[in-house]
């Protein structure tokens, strides 16, 4: 019944990847199944799949995996390969049978060929253009893809992976919510594989046409028509044909903003392989084996329009759309986010390859307090409970006058507390799902664990206290009450925060945040404390802080380079303009050289250092009719500042046992940002 009339909770696709460490046990298929089924609501009946990697080879024999409309087509395909490429065909068998109007999955064993990639392309061009009858979807020696139309559990059963698939070194899993391409055929399901690569993808890449053009230019002609497929081809082509390292290919695809590349050697590669860069929203999890090592790669787009978390425990590395997927199989894993436009790469033998520095800088574990549920409170065990049932119970208790409710074993339930009125404290033990405390007015939440995306969206009052990290879009349109996060938070925190009369929201983050802090902010107060960072020379914020800010105030511990505040024109364009002023005699070559050596070319700095005529000219690059200048000060906190944020900092310190740290931090300098 629930599959026929699926839950109204819909979301983007769900992705998952797991890699074992070299001395850890191999991974049975039940692990990726358990994990991806945890976010079943992210998908639909229109596609799911798994990819298993084994460094010893998945079968020991060269084989093609093919979707075909009949056994007859498979024999025709085998004959085509034998006749046109002179390859001997071995055993042909079915993994599951085609039924009328559907496609089955077949395996065609054949002798070794160094030219297999080209042969597969020719076969796919011949059999899947026009009257689509068959398509090869997996042909690597170390990768085995099992995918089809259904939920992950259906596909797991269809291929009987529990019995037929041995444990692997790496698994990928996917549940699909098709948007721009149909989902009624298995060829459109993920993972997509090319050579010794397989990928799963959540997103909708706007560069799809450019990527197809690039692949066209290097000889690819046959596509099933989804944007996800090209990512597998790109990774395979760049690493196996163009000789790029996995790191180079990943950086190329992630397509970081030029202005922050700082002479990165990826720039010449971007020029040469420009159609290979990805744009638009994506989270990609990829697996690869080169015969001697197995790699888990995760990519995210430059705006980070899709969720992604990384995890690690004693045995495994994880990548997932939601932390709940990791928690479903590992209660002890340390979980963190991937920065916008960045990638994560780990291998079975080498461990974390990229970004090692980020891991070192930001992930000093803060002390977690995990008190047990207390006596006197109503305790709800949430195992197996969906959010509607859970919220219904909470609502009943609150209406009955219960003041304290403890939710235990929470893992991934969304919308906790949404739409519930009343005065009560809700303690959450575990990992609440997305959209915790949305529209909250009066409830007080305390989370013992990490929270996921979109906490406190459009919250009017009450509070949220998180004894851990929080992910993206924290406190969006926060307009009353307060949110305290002991650890780090992700991308787009406090965007569109606002205040009205005496209703002023406070968002305090103990660790660091990523890009777009306080974007479009119109009111309220954000404080980022940067506690727990090993490298205090790095600001605890990402880029594009306070872009479009028109009200409120942001406090960030330490000096934030002006380049990270607001949306600035690209440095290369500013320098070009200044060079033009030298040509016109408005600046001297010496003045230009001085400016060129300066790291900061923000309008605030240029206003100070340029002659008025030159500043007036170059300021055209910075302003537009929507531009509102910011006042940015790097200073010690004043009496007024402390009367504004001091009470909240004191509460923050006592709640998290960080009183001493808070005391020390408040005597340091802060970057204070507000509209002029």
């Amino acid at each position: 019944m629930s599959d026929l009339f699926p839950s109204q909770v819909k979301s983007g696709c769900g992705v998952f990847g797991i890699l074992r460490k070299y001395d850890a046990p191999k991974i049975p298929s039940v692990i990726p199944l358990t994990s991806i089924e945890c976010v079943r609501y992210r998908g639909s009946r229109l596609g799911a799949g798994f990819a298993r990697f084994d460094q010893r080879g998945v079968t020991g024999r060269k084989r093609l995996k093919v979707f075909a409309d009949s056994l007859k087509t498979i024999f025709a395909l085998s004959r085509y390969i034998a006749d046109n490429f002179g390859l001997k065909i071995g055993e042909v068998f079915e993994e599951y049978q085609s039924e009328s109007g559907t496609y089955g999955s077949y395996v065609v064993e054949l002798e070794h060929s160094d030219d297999l990639d080209r042969i597969v392309r020719e076969v796919n061009r011949t059999f899947s253009e026009g009257n689509f009858s068959a398509r090869v979807y997996c042909w690597g020696d170390y990768v085995d893809v099992s995918k089809g139309v259904g939920y992950p559990k259906d596909i797991h059963e269809l291929y009987n992976l529990a019995e037929r698939s041995p444990p692997g070194d790496l698994w990928l899993a996917h549940t699909r919510q098709p948007t721009n391409s149909p989902g009624m055929l298995p060829v459109w399901s993920h993972p997509f594989s090319s050579g010794e690569w397989a990928i799963v993808h959540n997103g909708d890449i706007s560069s799809f046409g450019s990527n197809m053009e690039f692949l066209f230019s290097v000889g690819y002609r046959s596509f099933v028509g989804t944007d996800s497929e090209v990512i597998a081809y790109l990774l395979d082509h760049l690493t196996s044909k163009e000789g790029l390292s996995i790191e180079e290919a990943a950086a190329l695809l992630c397509n970081g903003f030029e202005d922050f590349l700082n002479g990165d050697p990826i720039l010449p590669l971007r020029v040469k392989y420009r159609g290979a860069a990805l744009d638009g929203p994506f989270t990609v999890v990829a697996g690869h084996c080169d015969g001697s090592d197995v790699y888990l790669l995760a990519l995210t787009d430059r705006f980070k329009f899709r969720p992604i978390v990384i995890g690690e425990d004693d045995h495994y590395y994880y990548v997932a759309s939601e932390e709940a997927e990791i928690r479903a199989v590992s209660s002890r894993a340390r979980v963190w986010t991937l920065g916008p436009g960045d990638f994560f790469l780990a291998s079975m033998n080498r461990g974390v390859i990229h970004p090692t520095e980020q891991v070192k800088i930001y992930h000093t574990p803060l002390t977690f307090h995990q008190p047990r549920p207390r006596d006197g409170a109503v305790i709800i065990d949430t195992v197996g409970s969906d959010y509607r049932a859970l919220n219904s119970m909470i609502r009943s208790y609150v209406r009955a006058g219960i003041k304290e409710i403890d939710l235990v074993n929470v893992n991934g339930q969304r919308y906790i507390g949404a739409g519930i009125e009343g005065d009560a404290k809700i303690r959450i033990y575990g990992t609440p799902g997305n959209c915790l405390a949305n529209y909250n007015q009066t409830l007080h939440f305390e989370v013992f664990g990490n929270a996921q995306d979109d906490v406190g969206d459009a919250m009017y009052g009450g509070s949220v206290v998180i004894h851990g990290d929080c992910r993206d879009v924290l406190g969006q349109v926060l307009q009353g009450g307060y949110i305290y996060v002991m650890g780090d938070a992700g991308n787009r925190c406090g965007i569109q925060m606002r205040e009205f009369r005496d209703r002023r929201p406070f968002l305090i983050i103990g660790g660091k945040v990523d890009d777009y802090l306080g974007e479009y902010m119109a009111g309220g107060v954000i404080v980022v404390l940067g506690l727990g960072q090993v490298r205090t020379d790095r600001p605890p914020v990402g880029r594009y802080v306070a872009t479009g800010m028109v009200g409120g105030r942001i406090y960030i511990r330490g000096r934030v380079p002006l380049k990270r505040i607001g949306l600035n024109p690209v440095r290369a364009d500013v320098l070009q303009y200044l060079e033009g002023l030298v040509m016109d005699g408005l600046l001297t070559a010496e003045q230009y050289e001085t400016l060129r050596s300066m790291e900061d070319l923000s309008y605030i700095t240029l206003e100070e250092v340029l002659p008025s005529g030159a500043y007036k000219a170059v300021s055209r690059l910075f302003t537009n009719k929507y531009f509102k200048p910011l006042r940015v000060e790097y200073r010690y906190l004043t009496h007024d500042d402390l009367s504004l944020i001091g009470p909240h900092l004191n509460s923050f310190g006592s709640l998290f046992n960080l009183t001493r740290e808070i005391h020390e931090v408040t005597s340091e300098k802060f970057t204070v940002i507000e509209p002029r």
Partner: protein, 335 residues
């Protein structure tokens, strides 16, 4: 032809961009969904009018270029020249030395190309010539009986730089791509397809798209596609602004030439003071850049260089003949 494409609506919008009309130059004019632009109300005249951008939607959100970065820069000549936007100012008809200097000042500050003929140049401009495309009057015969001209970018690049001389071939807008492939194999670093010159036998849209595809299909001696080392510049007096440029970029042009449109936009006259010319042209170009960002953002694209050029998938044809769509590589609306 060129007179009638500058309708009052088009002229007013272009002049608003430069500040020649309206309150504030340098901004993208605001129109509503009720615009009378072709193909829905005004009669479509060109293939460009039948192409629409397949905009962003819920799974691929639009990007707000006023608060989030959209990159308009492009690289030419295998990365040796960076332009702040994919625009070339054609100045072939300018007679005034002082106006040429002024236009070049603006081009140089904004980091984009200016094209003029060899004879127009003064020595001073050559000193700072990294953005000047200098067109030779000498014609070279192509294999098919048509002619091309040669253009060069200067060696002296600007402060602290000594660039390499780049040779470009200027060809008419021609259907057959054989001659262009020959020119690239001969070492030309770029092809300027100019629809206004003698010998053009097909619309610029078709010539650009076919040239882009032909260069992608052909290989150099190293086995790499010729397109990787050859840039395409599309020029026509009928390019009316950033919307046309955006579509030509999508069909495969690396740079689009603005010719009459900038002169219409700034209300150019031979007697206009240099200061007005400079102010209006700079405002006009900054507005063009904003429009390019808005168009890209609306399509969910954040880099023109990596994700727009040649990205035919972003466009759909409305009431466009199937054969023309095939030649362009563009799908029909709804496909």
């Amino acid at each position: 032809m060129s007179d009638s494409i500058w309708s009052n609506r088009v002229k007013r919008l272009l002049r608003e961009m430069s500040g020649a009309e309206g309150r504030q130059g340098g901004e993208a004019p605001i129109v509503s969904m009720g615009t009378t632009a072709p193909p829905m109300v005004e009669v479509p005249r060109f293939i460009l009018d039948h192409l629409v951008s397949d905009g962003a939607q819920v799974t691929r959100p639009s990007i707000d270029p006023y608060r989030e970065p959209i990159e308009t820069h492009v690289y030419l000549f295998e990365g040796q020249l960076r332009l702040s936007m994919p625009v070339l100012l054609s100045c072939m008809r300018l007679r005034s030395q002082s106006h040429l200097h002024t236009v070049y000042s603006v081009s140089y500050r904004l980091g984009l190309l200016m094209m003029c003929s060899e004879g127009q140049l003064s020595h001073k401009l050559e000193e700072w010539g990294k953005f000047i495309v200098r067109v030779s009057e000498e014609k070279h015969r192509l294999k098919d009986g048509k002619y091309c001209k040669e253009a060069r970018l200067m060696r002296r690049a600007g402060l602290n730089e000594t660039g390499k001389v780049q040779r470009l071939a200027i060809v008419p807008s021609i259907f057959d791509t054989g001659a262009v492939l020959e020119l690239v194999r001969e070492g030309y670093a770029g092809i300027i397809i100019d629809e206004d010159i003698e010998g053009s036998d097909c619309p610029l849209e078709v010539a650009v798209s076919r040239t882009d595809r032909a260069l992608k299909e052909s290989r150099d001696v190293a086995g790499d596609p010729l397109r990787w080392r050859a840039s395409i510049i599309a020029i026509s007096s009928r390019v009316r602004g950033s919307h046309d440029a955006f579509k030509l970029l999508g069909l495969g042009a690396d740079i689009v030439g603005l010719d009459e449109t900038w002169q219409v936009g700034i209300e150019y006259s031979e007697g206009m003071p240099d200061e007005d010319l400079s102010d209006r042209l700079e405002a006009f170009l900054l507005a063009v850049q904003k429009e390019l960002k808005l168009l890209a953002g609306a399509a969910g694209v954040s880099s023109l260089y990596t994700s727009l050029i040649g990205n035919r998938e972003l466009f759909r044809g409305i009431e466009l003949d199937a054969e023309v769509r095939r030649l362009l590589g563009v799908k029909a609306a709804g496909e």
